[in-house]
Amino acid sequence: MIRLEKVDKFYGQAHILKDITLGIGKGEFVSITGSSGSGKSTLLNLIGGMDRPDKGRIIVDEDAISSFTDEDLTLYRRRKIGFIFQFFNLLPNITVFENIRMPLLLNSTDDKDRVSSFIRRVGLQGKEGSFPFELSGGQQQRVAIARALVHDPEIILADEPTGSLDSQTGEEIMELIKELSSESRKTVVLVTHEAYLSRFADRTLKIRDGVILS
């Protein structure tokens, strides 16, 4: 489903990713671990179409997204990608319901029942009208998970989703991600520096200094 072929990425003089080649199958849950600054998030941004490689190709479902225009990448993210961030990144001035609904609206669809169903699935019934600042960290991340899945993307990209949470809450979140993604055979790429989270993944890749270790 996702193929990276000899991908290099530079930020200025810094060589962040070096000759990365990897493949991720449909429905596969892959975790990429590495220390801070190893290039994990950069890899995620490339797969998510937020950036382009300086060398090499990235192919998703036979589409070479590395040569997409900005407009194409926007549509690619809108339809195929669901992001989950470390710091939740909910829109602060809209409610839980509206945050989850946002990807549907961006796709010019609207399915309030679907939104409500996801709110229940993530255990936030009764919180539909709350604003993000009224929720705990764990609750906010549940909203973020629902938002990442509501528009039925093929790929979920999770960047340190438990980084701002305590260990128990983190476990619960990971369980939720695993459960919801495997239900509909989503391809999940999880980036984390916490090795113990790899147990949720089908496969773990290590990255160090921009190179994928076997």
Binding site: S36, G37, K40, S41, N45, G48, M50, D51, D70, E71, T74, L75, Y76, R77, R78, R79, I81, F83, F85, Q86, F87, N89, L90, L91, P92, N93, I94, E98, R101, M102, P103, L105, L106, N107, S108, D110, F131, P132, F133, R147, D159, E160, G163
Partner: protein, 838 residues
Amino acid sequence: MTFLHLVRLIIFRNLRREWFLTVLSVVGVALGIGLFIGVKVASDRAVSSFESDIRGMNTAMNFEIVDSSGIDFPESAYRTVLDMVDNCLPVLRAVGHMQAANETITIEGIYTARLMSLIRPVSRQPYDLERFLREPDGVMISKQLAEALSLKKGEKVTALVYDREYSLSIVDVIDEPSLPAKIVLMDIGNFQDYFQKTGYLSRIDLDADAVTAQSVMAALPPHLALVSKEQSLQDRKALLKSFRYNLQFVSLIAILVGLFLLYNTVFLSVIKRRTEIGILRGLGVHRMTIVLLFLSHGLLIGALGSVAGVVFGQVAASFSALAVERTISTIYSPIAISGTLITVKDILLAFGLGIAVSLGASALPAYEASKVRPSETSREGSFEGRYLKYVGLLAAAGLASITFGVIISWYDYNAMPFDFPFLAYAGILCMIAGFGLASPFFLSNVLRLIRLPAEKTFAATGQIAINDMQGNVYRFSVALMSVAVSCALIIALLTLIFSFRGSLRSWIRQNINADVYVKPSSCSSNFCFFPLSPELVELVSGFEEVDAVDRFRTLHIDFFGKKVVAGFGDMQLQKRYRGGHQELAPEEAGQDKSVGISSYLGFRHSLKIGDTVDIRTPRGSEQFVVRDVFSSYSTTAGFIYLDRQWLKEFWSLDDATQVALYLREGSDISRFIGRLKEAVRGRYAVDVMNNDELRKRVLSIFDKTFAITYAIEAISIAVSLIGVVNTLLTFVLERKREISVIRYLGGSWQQITRVLVLSAGVVGIGGIVLGSFMGLAMSVIFITVINKISFGWEIQFRIPYLYLSGVTAVLFLTTLLSGLIPARVARRVDPKRFISFE
């Protein structure tokens, strides 16, 4: 030292980082202050011109003797005065117009021997006194005039003086700072001969104590008045007072809009910096230090705005001076404003204003900053949430303020406790403040109303825009008020101008009825006070096409202790040509001792038709019955109208300052005018206009006098748009993470642009709706209260719907487009920077 460090780290760095926002805020403050200073400088210079005009050449003199009607008087009076006072000087004065340079000049005939010792020529060579006395057209001009028109000693110029064109030889150029700026001096004897004023004087200047002055006054004939120079100046200043204050107030509104802008900037800075504030508080920084930090922010922008305001003010002063000069010359008397350089006092005033505006605008945000709790800083979106509960209370306070404003304006209209409508202006400010307090409530409800349609129409962008505004209702209501104040100003001023124009048109239709009008070319005011040559009047009247001639004369007379303009015309003739050729009753024909008064005088002195008034004439006080109270827009000093027979009987005058000609039926008016102009060519300098031309000219003068208000409007619009851009730009800068999230979710730059443009649009529409209510209220107060108390003009209230629709549409579109600027800034946001936290 710690505080200065904090200022450098938190405030300076912020100002530098967000340089565009800083520049916007500085420009907004500068425009308001600059406009205010520019208008002030122009009107101050007008008063200075009056002052140097009154002092004239004889700066040491403290009294002047003039004819109470403002006309030239026999010079025999000078002998009487000279017998009693050593230090006195005769003066003849005329106003001239140099057509080529379009310049108004004052020509003074002076007692050469006495005065020449007081002045020195530019050339530092002894002036050519012999040539000055010998040449009948020899003049000396001021250095300022010479420099302004690039004139030199030895050159010849032409000027229109009275009703002719005259040539003047420049004998020398005078360098004397105390002289009026555009003065031309002539020996008094030469003046009398050259301009055919033999045996006459315009005034006698004298230096005397109060007791001597009393004795002199007692010895003078009754038509002459002895007035202190100071009193003359105060009287002239009083005439200008309403005009000046009204102009100044309108320019004050531009400062008000700048104040909103600065408040917005500091308020948004507080919101952006709340994390830093929380950390500082956590580190032990006092609340007062936080307050002072943000006051410094405001003061810095205010100081920079003041500096820029001084520069802009200097430019504005030059343009304002032209407009003010034109208006005063038209409505009052010709003046020449020069030297529009801003003084040290004006600069200090600009800085004082800048500091006052900064402190006023940043006080509340600074106080709010000191109350930020550390726990708030990590919960985005909670800052304004805390204050949402006060929206209703603020709305109630706003309503109370608006009501109070209406009440005091109404009180001013009925009771008129002051000569100037201070209470009405205070009422307007209260209303603006009231609308400001109620604006968050208004915006909340507008958002509630449009939420569903916006989401249905614009989907995600609609939802984001409406919700972002709802979550930041206070900051967006500040932007809304910027638009509202601008819109209100447009509506109020345009309604005033349109209503005024409509009333003026009606007045023109009723009063400008003759076929042809003749007046001296040198006279640029609405009323001329020097007579046309009798030969000219006879020549004009002698044409076979002429059926009737209305010889019109204007004088200044005392009316209830103040100088007003008196017009003398043929009442019977006018009413005949206006209302048909039927016979009129004596009172209708003005044959009884009747007078018509302008509605301003009726209002000021509670006079109505049938009342009796005393009018001081050279033959003593005479009683006249008020037969008519009419609208008059030609002057703000008050105008009365009498039949010509009284001019002859009580003032012993039978001349005319302007003539109106009624032609026989079937006459070719254009051909007649052609023949008339041919007959006077080379002999007299007069303007000959047909009815249509005079009507257009009157309207054109009206349009030009309002030119300065258009400039004020344009600047206010610019400042309010800056306010909208400022709000949205700060919104973008603060919402970089949110914009990045939208990009990660698959939102396009077009959609983000739409959010910003939609926000700008809501602010625009909301501002225009609120501004419409404000503007309507303001225009009612301007027309019915302020105008009436200040100028006494009767204006029929008329709303120019079509015109206003067009202008507000332009304002809306411009507001909408102002959302594009922040959208461009948003495009430069790199989403990866604000989402990755490695």
